[in-house]
Amino acid sequence: MNRRWHPSLVIGLVGTAIFLALALTSLLWTPYPIDQIDLARKFAGPSPEHWLGTDFFGRDMLSLVMAGTLTSFVVAAIAVAIGMVIGVPLGLIAAAWGGPVEWLVLRVNDFLFAFPAIITAILITALFGPGATNAMIAIGIFNIPVFARVARGGALSLKSLDYIGAARLAGMGNWEISLRHLLPNVASLLIVQATIQLALGILAEAGLSYVGLGTQPPATSLGLMLKDAQSIFLLHPWLTYVPGLSIVLIVISLNLAGDGLRDMLDPRLKREGLANAAA
């Protein structure tokens, strides 16, 4: 089967890969240490020494963007992991058992959906104080019902198929059927949803940091950079453009990658559909 690479998938993956590479590089090396304050150099525009200029503390913007991208990716990725690890089993349990179990899972879902990430974050911050970890947890909790719904929806449409009946006849219980037959077949749906939630997570992290509930200095994130630059936006708009555009580009890349993945993994949009039409 020749799976064609969708153009939007290529663009999305390349964009994501560039930002991810920048972020990972910051672990080992940044042009300047991000906590090096040098007030003599503050508000320098782009130059050969500082490609993206410096901020109001004289910190190198490129180094900040690299480190900030890493924070954003880590927070969003861990939030997606939290959502998947808890949400997917919940969704599969709901689909496989049905009845009162399903009712309970759906009501828990509705309850979680009723709290936007920002409210959860405020709650957690009020209890434990602000920080990147708490942002992860807040966004992760927001992700749980999303993954539970996708897993349940996908599993429900599979459940009526004959091979699930055959597995039941082979004496498999709900657990085994979920792990062996349902999970592998909803995996493609979950991967697509994960890319979309990753993009949303980066936006949510930026939002939380912007209102001061996320990453705290001296660490940095794209949202925190925006917040710092906002008060001097009229004087030095460049300082907001850099993190703002980075967020936009990352989110667009991830969304393109997600769309492309869905088109590639969805059999209805592929050549198989044509083969069936020709039958």
Binding site: L161, D162, L169, A170, R180, H181
Partner: protein, 544 residues
């Protein structure tokens, strides 16, 4: 001048053409049949004539309608489709708008084609009462929906009706009435017909000229009587042989012990009522059914769609639970017998003394785990019954988990035995389901049913999803396996000819009840119940 002329028509997607070099001419009022199995390109041909080819398809050759080339522009094509060419599709449920009353949909077709037909007249012409105009598609049966589709097709008073497998989603009795309806409508209106089907007998009943397609190429074309009486192409001969009903050997099973006893079994489904305090009348899918199956006996359950036969099969197999009655597996308790009795000269030889079978009373899904290996089910659809992400070897071996403590080597041996028994090579076991054809998949499904060495195999429409040319092979395989392994079958079907080929005893079912029972020969010769007579009358005449 012919009404429709195809000259060297071809349809190409990326890769090899799905249709190549098709030429024929159709006169006004002529009924033309296109015969082909899945993948033959017959649907693409129908779509090409109607100008409805899917995106990405390229058409070659020329199509002329009434002396004019088929227009290129969508507007002109749409006008042609509304007034001169009409189409009826296979699945009327997806072809109708579920949110519109069917009368409104017919009225829309009339308005678009700007004729002065009336909804009542059209409904009358297709044999429906005018009250049906106020119904929604889901409130109608499959046959009624197909009548609505035909009424919509007639709204534009077309010169040509293209019917693409219009009856293959319907049961036998309904199929016959729709075929008779199409014939009557064509005669009355002098309308030309292109009837696309895999069913030779349906084509033979309707058409005067036929074209046989295989993998996009024309095998043979000519007057229907000539083609069916003296087919020139080898492929046509195979199709005709496959369409001819075979009569299976009936085993004389004197003294075979009863294997399964079904006692007064019922399955009621709750139906939504008007309100929570006024619950609906429960619907009985299976209503007080009793019968028994002897060891190595093949019992067929026949009935129209919706008669409860599939529900019954699922309950016996242990997938669903009965709401009343019970089943007893192996009532002749604790007999030491060998798992594989041999049938020789009509007598069962119980060889040696193998394991002792437990006996059990159950109601469906509470079938004890120890007994599950004794009953297996072959599903109707060979495409849906395998997990697309599991190698077939593992799928076929899945039921072996019912046998505790089986060493991996034994497991492998059992799987390859089962696969060899259905005539496939064990070297194929590492492949994935999509690499197999429909017929091979159905063989694999049978292998999966055999792998636990069951005594009772339930076959739910085992060949209805297969191409005609494969059906004979699978039926012969089923008969051979029964002879080799002394299996008992419960065959669920709506197809009397298939039933005659594989069963010793026939139960006719209607609305959840068994209305007639007997040997196939008796039932065919002297049907007693009204439904049995209808089923027999609905059979289309044999070809040639």
């Amino acid at each position: 001048m012919p009404l429709l002329e195809l000259d060297d028509l071809s349809v190409v997607f990326d890769g090899p053409p799905v249709l190549a070099g098709v030429s024929f001419a159709l006169e006004k009022g002529e009924r033309f049949g296109v015969i082909g199995e899945s993948g033959s390109g017959k649907t693409m041909m129908a779509l090409a004539i109607a100008g409805l080819l899917p995106e990405g398809a390229r058409r070659g050759g020329a199509i002329a309608f009434d002396g004019q080339r088929l227009p290129e522009g969508e507007r002109e094509l749409a006008r042609l489709r509304g007034r001169r060419i009409a189409m009826v599709f296979q699945e009327p449920l997806t072809a109708l708008n579920p949110l519109m009353r069917v009368g409104a949909q017919i009225a829309e077709a009339i308005a678009l084609s700007k004729t002065n037909a009336s909804v009542e007249a059209l409904l009358g012409e297709v044999g429906l009462d005018p009250v049906h105009a106020r119904r929604y598609p889901h409130e109608l049966s499959g046959g009624q929906r197909q009548r609505i589709m035909i009424a919509m097709a007639l709204a534009g008073e077309p010169d040509l009706l293209i019917a693409d497998e219009p009856t293959s989603a319907l049961d036998l009795i309904t199929q016959r009435t729709i075929i008779d309806l199409i014939a009557a409508v064509c005669d009355r209106r002098g309308m030309a017909l292109i009837f696309v089907s895999h069913d030779l007998r349906a084509v033979a009943a309707l058409c005067t000229r036929v074209l046989v397609l295989r993998q996009g190429a024309v095998m043979e074309t000519g007057p229907a009587t000539d083609v069916f009486a003296a087919p020139r192409a080898e492929y046509t001969r195979q199709l005709i042989a496959a369409a001819r009903p075979t009569i299976g050997a009936v085993f004389a099973l004197a003294g075979a012990p009863p294997l399964l006893e079904v006692r007064n079994l019922s399955r009621h489904f709750r139906q939504p009522g008007a309100a929570w305090f006024a619950p609906g009348q429960p619907m009985a899918a299976v209503n007080g059914v009793s019968f028994s199956v002897a060891a190595s006996e093949s019992v067929a359950i026949v009935g129209p769609s919706g008669c409860g036969k599939t529900t019954l099969a699922r309950i016996i197999a242990g997938l669903d639970r009965a709401t009343g009655g019970e089943m007893i597996l192996d009532a002749g308790a604790h007999r030491p017998v060998h798992p594989y009795p041999r049938i020789k000269s009509g007598e069962i030889q119980w060889r040696g003394s193998g394991r002792t079978f437990p006996t059990g009373t159950y109601h469906g899904s509470n079938l004890p785990r120890a007994l599950r290996r004794d009953i297996s089910l072959v599903f109707q659809d060979p495409y849906g019954s395998f997990d697309p992400r599991l190698e077939v070897g593992r799928a076929v071996g899945e039921p072996l988990r019912l046998e505790r403590g089986l060493a991996p080597a034994d497991r492998l041996r059992r799987v390859s035995e089962a696969v060899q028994a259905v005539g496939l090579s064990p070297t194929l076991l590492g492949r994935y389901p999509h690499e197999f054809s429909g017929g091979q998949r159905q063989r694999l499904a049978i292998a999966r049913a055999l792998v636990t060495r069951p005594r009772l195999v339930i076959l739910d429409e085992p060949v209805s999803a297969l191409d005609v040319s494969l059906r004979g092979d699978v039926l012969a395989l089923l008969n051979r396996l029964r002879a080799d392994y002394g299996l008992a079958y419960v065959v669920i079907s709506h197809d009397l000819d298939m039933v005659r080929a594989v069963s010793d005893r026939v139960l006719v079912m209607e609305k959840g009840k068994i209305v007639e029972e007997g040997r196939p020969a008796e039932i065919f010769a002297h049907p007693q119940h009204r439904l049995t007579r209808e089923l027999l009358a609905a059979r289309l005449p044999d070809v040639a």
